[in-house]
């Protein structure tokens, strides 16, 4: 019996150590191999192109490191894996960066804000043409996502609040099928589902979209702040690769665009129409202007308040200012002692000045 105890306690210690390794990747260290996770979305396909065409490798080599872009099928899963310390960087929206890694105590830095949704997210009503008709309806959406945020912002613009509607959590993968059922009358969703539904259903009316709240749903490259501090090369290489692809897209390089279209499961025309509702920052100077604008802190304040009201800032958050955020130019929002999300213009500025 005693020997059983001994061997099990040994096993226990060993297993604890193994599981603890997950945590050790959170600790800072200088290293030369990095992994960044990404998911399919119109504004993130350039990353895939950069990886597949060797642009990432080229830039990584220039800085003497290795970078791997890892495609994850489930968007939230990819963020969760990043938060758990599995990846050094991850592609996510501004709201998810605040509510998942930052609220989870993982200090994160937004290095590149590649684009913002300018019509990619929208609210649909069946057979009704005005947003005010949404009153009293059940709205299908992915709860606590940017769709939920967009709905709250839309209701605000017509003097209503979430109390005036009923929210029904529905998986994003099932939105298109859901629209075809008769009890679904209102929906908030994003592309490509959004355009898919509008193309296939005459009864679908777009009553509000993200172009009416420009710059609020931002798609960004987020890197673990500790990792970034010890390895600025990672951000330099990624920023360099990003703007190389941006230059191609700005020129309208059909081969590159077709590649991205196919990788995201659509054709060139479909991809171009999705790009039309996406505000891409093609040049470093445009992105620098956006990154340093006063809009970002104002938007993040709204996002933080929404997240607090819906209880997704984490437990023990007494108010919307519990999680601190830092912006370019030394500006901050919220608790300066608990800064967990940083918006950084260092690397975009280097790109603008041609110093990468």
């Amino acid at each position: 019996m005693k020997s059983i105890f001994k061997s099990t306690s040994k096993l226990l210690v060993a297993a604890t150590l193994v599981m603890g390794f997950g945590a050790s990747s959170l600790m800072a260290e200088v290293k030369d191999k990095f992994q960044v996770s990404w998911t399919i979305y119109v504004g993130w396909m350039p990353w895939d192109y950069a990886q597949q065409k060797g642009i990432i490798d080229k830039w990584a080599k220039k800085y003497g490191i290795e970078i791997e872009m890892v495609q994850v099928n489930d968007y939230i899963e990819s963020i969760n894996q990043y938060t758990a310390g599995k990846f050094d960087g991850c592609l996510m929206t501004n709201m998810d960066a605040l509510t998942i890694p930052a609220a989870g105590g993982v200090d994160s830095t937004a290095v590149i804000m590649g684009d913002y949704s300018n019509g990619n997210d929208g609210i649909l009503l069946k057979n009704k043409k005005n947003l005010t008709d949404i009153k009293g309806q059940t709205v299908n959406l992915v709860e606590l996502s940017v769709s939920h945020y967009l709905l709250a912002r839309a209701l605000e613009t017509v003097g209503m609040s979430e109390k005036d509607v009923k929210v029904l959590n529905t998986s994003d993968a099932d939105m298109v099928a859901a629209w075809g059922t008769k009890d679904v009358t209102a929906m908030t969703t994003w592309n490509p589902q959004l355009s898919e539904i509008m193309a296939g259903n005459k009864d679908a009316n777009l009553v509000f979209d993200s172009s009416k709240t420009p710059g609020e749903i931002i798609d960004m490259l987020v890197i673990n702040t500790e990792t970034l501090k010890d390895n600025p090369k990672l951000a330099k290489a990624l920023t360099g690769a990003w703007f190389e692809v941006m230059a191609l897209m700005k020129k309208g390089d059909e081969a590159a665009l077709t590649f991205m279209a196919q990788a995201s499961g659509t054709d060139l025309a479909g991809y171009k129409s999705q790009l039309d509702s996406t505000m891409m920052f093609y040049t470093p100077s445009d992105l620098l202007a956006f990154t340093t604008s006063a809009e970002i802190p104002a938007t993040m304040k709204k996002v933080s308040e929404f997240s607090f009201e819906h209880g997704i800032l984490g437990e023990g958050a007494p108010d919307a200012e519990f999680i601190g955020m830092a912006f370019p130019g030394g500006k901050t929002f919220g608790d300066p002692k608990n800064i967990k999300l940083r918006f950084d213009d260092t690397f975009v500025k280097m790109a603008a000045e041609g110093k990468l």
Binding site: M19, A23, T99, N140, L168, S171, D174, A178, I312, G314
Partner: protein, 274 residues
């Protein structure tokens, strides 16, 4: 000679040995959680015991700010309603189909291949069709459980009916039984405990379909809550919910077993006690 296979644990060591794996898992968890929390006190992946206590207090013991109801109770009630209804309908359907399939060769010839093929259709793959037919409401969730579980029980019952010794059926016929009376007096009493057994075995499958259905579209339910808070990695809510689901599943299994043996005492005669 003393053989290992003949050694029986005493009552005390039976209890201790049963408890040991639970304790080990708990210790393993605490150790790993400690390591992660030491690196990042806000880590959400392996929360400490106190965060569990807080989460349980918030979900189960404090009324929700929005509706004034207890979320945990609300989730449990609506999930159990769906599960109970789904399993009940499946069991009744299975009884109605399984007995004719096993008992009447003509029915078997006509339907058996179809049932066998139908049971292979993965319900999750045809979800969009189920939505269009049953809508997005409660009906669709119950329907998903029924479609997922019924074929399994039907096939099991059919086998059990066919396993009834031919001698019994011949005997019943020589005593003047008609097909109908033999079904009622010979087949049904023997099949009923096996139906309960089949229900016990498919309970796990039923839970999977319930959780999947709630993940797709819902406003309350145990699966809904897990998928909702999964978005922001709230393991402090998810793990107690998983423990609760496991406990409920275990409880049903136990109650069904006790019920079966109580009502059909002949059924467990000669079986090894577990």
């Amino acid at each position: 000679m003393k053989r290992l296979m003949n050694l029986r644990p005493s009552k005390q060591s039976l209890f201790f040995l049963g408890l040991l794996p639970f304790v080990l898992v708990a210790l393993l968890y605490l150790g790993a959680s400690e390591v992660r929390l030491a690196a990042n006190p806000d880590d959400k992946l392996l929360p400490s015991m106190s965060s569990f206590a807080e989460a349980i207090d918030r979900m189960a013991l404090t009324p929700s700010k929005r509706t004034g109801e207890y979320l945990f109770v609300e989730d449990t009630v609506s999930s159990l309603e769906r599960l109970g209804l789904g399993v009940l309908i499946s069991a009744v359907l299975a009884l109605l189909m399984g007995i004719p399939l096993g008992f009447i060769p003509f029915v078997r010839a006509g339907l058996s291949p179809f049932v066998a093929a139908f049971s292979m259709v993965p319900p999750m793959a045809i979800l969009p069709i189920l939505f269009i037919i049953f809508g997005m409401g409660e009906l669709a969730k119950v329907a998903l459980i029924v479609i997922g579980v019924t074929p399994l029980i039907v096939r099991d019952l059919q086998q059990r009916v066919m396993e009834i010794p031919v001698e019994q059926l011949i005997k019943a016929q020589t005593l003047g039984g008609t097909s109908w009376s033999i079904v009622l007096r010979v087949v049904l009493p023997q099949i009923f405990p096996r139906l309960l057994d089949a229900v016990r075995l498919t309970m796990g499958t039923a839970w999977i379909f319930l959780i999947s259905a709630e993940a797709i579209s819902a406003t309350e339910g145990l699966g809904y809550r897990i998928f909702l808070v999964r978005r922001y990695l709230s393991m402090d809510v998810i793990l107690p919910y998983v423990a609760w689901i496991t406990f409920l599943a275990f409880l049903f299994d136990y109650l069904l077993k006790r019920f079966t043996y109580k009502v059909f005492p002949w059924y467990d005669a000669g079986k090894e006690q577990s």
